[in-house]
């Protein structure tokens, strides 16, 4: 076909422009010429013009003024103009443009054109940029073309139908019958289109999926034909017969076999055949194998087939081609949770891939390695992961560090190993760890009291090797502050101890304080550590005092505040200094996950048994008397004991005389800390006026809970109605009024009214209550208020 000379001249002119500015100038001139040409009526060069405009558009310049020209060209009877017009429509008119609707009619006409290449243009454009309305309009036409006898048109109609289904899901139903019949075609292009269409329909609607399951035998048949049959020159690619069609069919089989035993069974043999017969020396064969593996792993395949699939992936991992290794790892990642053991077998190869040159392969290998870490292989895997961390690309460091921390937390074989691992990560990739690492590590160290000595010696050394890794320096400072005394002792069981003097230690901390690499947070750590050492060292307290006072005028507000507070600790509160700066208690473990099953001790619990023990020893032991009292109380009444019992009547007077006191002591011993009241609650009259009496009694329910009972009675000659009580208590006390028993008081004390008030006094404030009384008597309303300042029995 002869090239378009005007187009090529323009392209040459643009390319010869030496600067961006010059190019812009050329393009502006050309665009002006094109616009002028557009305005003229029909001339021979219209297609060349539009082509020029499309070139300019590809360079990135605006070309929207060509949209109408596209519409005109599409409507032209000339094929050359239609061709460029449709191309322009696909490039300039997407469904978001209003002008796109204008070509709907042209497309409709061209779909029924006598020449298949014109039909082809229309189909292609519709499939590329057809909007939902256009699709709805033209769907019946497409369905008609699906049944045409021309395979060239049929294959394009199939893909057009795919686009329509993607745009307007409901129209899928329309194409189901034709799609089904297309499967019996021999033409590969049509077959391919049919498979794509069926895949799309099945993905959209589960009912359609059910219906198409019946096609599994047909699909298996077609695949068999492709795999077994001889060389077909038309479709052969490096020894594989039509790999594009094979892959598509495998994908459809995957969708049909998913979660369905029967369908999966039907395709078992075929998949095994494809897996074993396909030549894996070239990429194209591996593409088919890859799709087969994905299908096997996704359907309900039998275990032998699954093992075969995982082995293929294992072979891929050893392939020289990086692409193949990459996709093998991607697939293994998908099945690592379901077929964990099978993937574990290839752990060695995966770990080797950590050393690959390619960053994508490294990333996949890292993800997979982290997923394969387990309790049995933690030590060897961690070794590899730490080696990887020291040489890994910067974008993977954070992911690697956090993955290592997670793995260490879950599977650490010993605390020392755990601490060592974290320290190793902090020295290699300290800058990329998450913020919570420092407090987590500190918590871990605190809880491992047997390793305090080891940890502090190790950290001290680490501090001198590299002062720039902030998280490491922070933890080191904290440890030196806390366990400085262990450091100075100079002896350690697990590791070679450093021999340092107090000055050395303070020097180290001062270096951190003054280093320009230390962040404000780190310096805060160092300052606090220096302060803590004032109680752990003996000679250089003055030096600490001077450091602290210097920082009292530091520019950093946080440091200044700390220094000033520490200064105050030295001056005014020196008596408290030892207590404030003493060794930190074991930190309560929060929900970070289980590590080694050890729980932290709770200091609180220890005090309680002590208290109880004290009580027991305080009571003088009186075995005989106590036994008697116990028997008496259990008996419940004050009746004299049976004559037959060893206790005898001689003790009975003793019993009646002092049951309450002895009994009270006994109760204290047995009952714990809450005294249970023996006598009924005392009542007190709080209000007495005009014949209305209000009494109050209270009962302690718990440490801070109290129930107050208000009882009202009426001793006058007339009835009282509408009797209500309102109560108010001090602010920190909580109050709840229960419903009163009645709201009227008959005359002469005929019935009493009770109201319960529940109080909660958690702060143990002095309890007061204001009560407002309100009632109606002889037609007049009476309101009164009384304040209760002391409660009986409290």
């Amino acid at each position: 076909m002869s090239p378009s000379v005007p187009l090529q001249e323009m392209i040459r002119a643009i390319r010869s422009a030496r600067t961006q500015c010059e190019e812009r100038g050329v393009i502006q001139r050309e665009c002006a010429a094109i616009r002028a040409q557009f305005r003229q009526t029909d001339n021979g060069g219209r297609s060349h013009n539009l082509a020029k405009l499309l070139y300019v558009h590809m360079l990135g310049y605006p070309a929207h003024f060509g949209q109408m020209e596209c519409v005109r060209m599409i409507a032209s009877p000339r094929y050359s103009e239609k061709r460029v017009g449709y191309l322009g429509a696909m490039m300039l008119l997407d469904e978001k443009q209003d002008a796109s609707l204008l070509i709907t009619n042209s497309i409709k006409n061209d779909l029924s054109h006598s020449n298949q290449y014109v039909q082809s243009l229309a189909l292609c454009t519709l499939a590329c940029m057809g909007s939902a309305e256009m699709c709805r309009d033209l769907a019946p036409e497409i369905d008609r073309l699906l049944r045409s006898s021309n395979s060239y048109i049929k294959k394009k109609a199939a893909l057009c139908a795919v686009h329509i289904v993607r745009k307007v899901h409901d129209l899928g139903e329309l194409f189901v019958p034709s799609a089904r019949s297309l499967l019996s075609e021999k033409n590969h292009g049509v077959l391919h289109g049919a498979v794509v269409l069926i895949t799309e329909l099945c993905e959209r609607s589960p009912e359609t999926l059910e219906r198409f399951r019946k096609t599994v035998p047909d699909l298996v048949q077609i695949m068999k034909g492709l795999v077994i049959s001889g060389y077909s020159p038309d479709h052969d690619v490096a020894g594989v017969s039509d790999p594009f069609l094979q892959v598509r069919i495998l994908r459809l089989l995957r969708i049909l076999g998913r979660n369905n035993e029967a369908a999966s069974d039907a395709m078992n043999d075929l998949l095994a055949q494809v897996a074993t017969n396909t030549d894996s020396t070239k990429t194209v064969g591996n593409a088919v194998l890859y799709e087969t593996v994905l299908t096997v792993l996704d359907i309900k395949s039998e275990s032998g087939l699954r093992v075969l699939a995982v082995n293929i992936l294992g072979r891929f991992l050893l392939n020289n081609d990086r692409n193949i290794r990459y996709i093998a790892m991607t697939s293994l990642q998908k099945i690592v949770s379901t077929d964990h053991n099978a993937v574990q077998r290839h752990r060695g190869t995966i770990v080797d891939c950590l050393k690959d040159q390619d960053a994508s392969v490294k990333r996949r290998a890292l993800e997979l390695s982290l997923a394969l870490v387990s309790a049995s292989n933690i030590r060897s895997m961690m070794k590899e992961l730490l080696i990887f961390l020291s040489s890994c690309p910067p974008e993977l460091r954070a992911q690697a560090a956090s993955g290592i921390f997670n793995a260490a937390e879950r599977y650490a074989p010993s605390k020392r190993w755990h601490i060592d691992t974290i320290l190793h990560v902090l020295t290699t990739a300290g800058g990329d760890v998450r913020d919570e690492t420092v407090p987590n590590l500190i918590q871990l160290i605190t809880n491992t009291s047997e390793l305090h000595c080891y940890t502090v010696h190790k950290l001290y050394r680490a501090l001198f090797t590299d002062i720039s890794q902030q998280p490491l320096v922070q933890v080191a400072c904290w440890c030196i502050g806390e366990y400085g005394d262990l450091l100075l002792k100079g002896e350690c069981q697990e590791t070679e101890a450093v021999q340092v003097t107090e000055d050395d230690v303070l020097d180290a901390l001062e270096i951190v304080l003054q280093s320009h690499m230390s962040t404000p947070t780190t310096r805060g750590f160092a300052l606090t550590a220096t302060m803590k050492l004032s109680t752990r060292i003996t000679d250089n307290v003055d030096r600490i005092r001077s450091i602290v006072s210097i920082y009292g005028s530091c520019i950093d507000v946080e440091l200044q505040q700390r220094a000033v507070e520490y200064n105050a600790l030295f001056k005014k509160y020196d008596h408290m200094r030892a207590a404030v700066l003493e060794r930190m208690p074991v930190i309560q473990k929060n929900s970070l996950g289980q590590t080694n099953g050890e729980l932290s001790e709770e200091p609180m619990k220890e005090s309680q048994p002590g208290k109880v023990k004290q009580e027991e020893t305080a009571l003088p032991p009186q075995p005989a008397g106590q036994v008697v009292d116990l028997l008496d109380l259990l008996g419940g009444s004050q009746e004299p004991l049976q004559p037959g019992s060893s206790v005898g009547g001689s003790a009975s007077t003793q019993l009646t005389a002092a049951p309450s006191s002895a009994g009270g002591d006994l109760l204290d011993l047995l009952g714990g800390f809450e005294p249970t009241p023996l006598a009924p609650a005392p009542t007190v009259t709080v209000y007495e006026k005009n014949g209305v009496t209000l009494t109050l009694s209270c009962e302690q329910q718990s440490e801070s809970g109290l129930t107050v009972t208000l009882t009202a009675s009426n001793s006058t000659d007339s009835d009282i109605s509408g009797f209500t009580l309102q109560a108010a208590v001090p602010k920190s006390v909580q109050l709840q009024m229960r419903a009163p028993s009645r709201d009227s008081l008959p005359a002469h004390g005929g019935a009493k009214l009770t109201q319960l008030v529940v109080l909660n006094n958690p702060n143990k404030v002095n309890l007061k209550m204001r009560i407002r009384v309100s009632y109606t008597c002889q037609g007049s309303v009476v309101q009164d208020m009384v304040q209760v300042d002391s409660f009986p029995g409290l």
Partner: protein
């Protein structure tokens, strides 16, 4: 489904763009910029697959041109490489030892060939010969533009 196909030179100049979804011009420009930056930054002898947002990017370099295909999650990456290769073969057959200049000066033909091979983000025809014959026939039709329409027989 394929979302887009881009061809660009080693200097980052776009030679061909085909989009299979409707997105705005601004969005297209952004994607082009990102693709060119990402792909041109890749070292030689690294693997041809990248992850970008929710798409897989498959790219291959042929002489001075980078072919970059953006595919959806379920697509087979190795097959995508084969698709790119098939397209290059078709161009090669048509232009005879195709080079970048051919594609620059005859970009509309490159599009016509592409539109016979792929459609709506899917493969349209798996046979090289059929695609070639279709292009030839369309070209002949274009040549005889000024005469009456005539039926062209397509074999196969």
């Amino acid at each position: 489904m394929m979302r887009f196909l881009l061809l660009f030179s080693r200097q980052g100049r776009l030679r061909l763009q085909k989009w299979y979804t409707a997105i705005s011009e601004r969005e297209k420009k952004k994607i082009i910029r990102e693709m060119t930056t990402m792909v041109l930054a890749r070292q030689p002898r690294t693997c041809n697959f990248l992850q970008w947002k929710d798409l897989k990017i498959v790219y291959k370099r042929y002489a001075s041109l980078y072919f970059c295909l953006g595919v959806e999650h379920e697509e087979n990456e190795l097959l995508a490489l084969e698709i790119i290769h098939r397209y290059v073969e078709l161009l090669d057959k048509y232009f005879g030892n195709v080079c970048e200049l051919d594609i620059i000066f005859n970009f509309e033909k490159a599009y016509f060939i592409l539109d016979e091979f792929l459609m709506g983000g899917e493969i349209q025809e798996t046979s090289k010969q059929i695609v070639n014959r279709a292009i030839e026939s369309s070209d002949m039709l274009q040549e005889d533009d000024h005469s009456e329409w005539y039926e062209v027989e397509l074999f196969g």
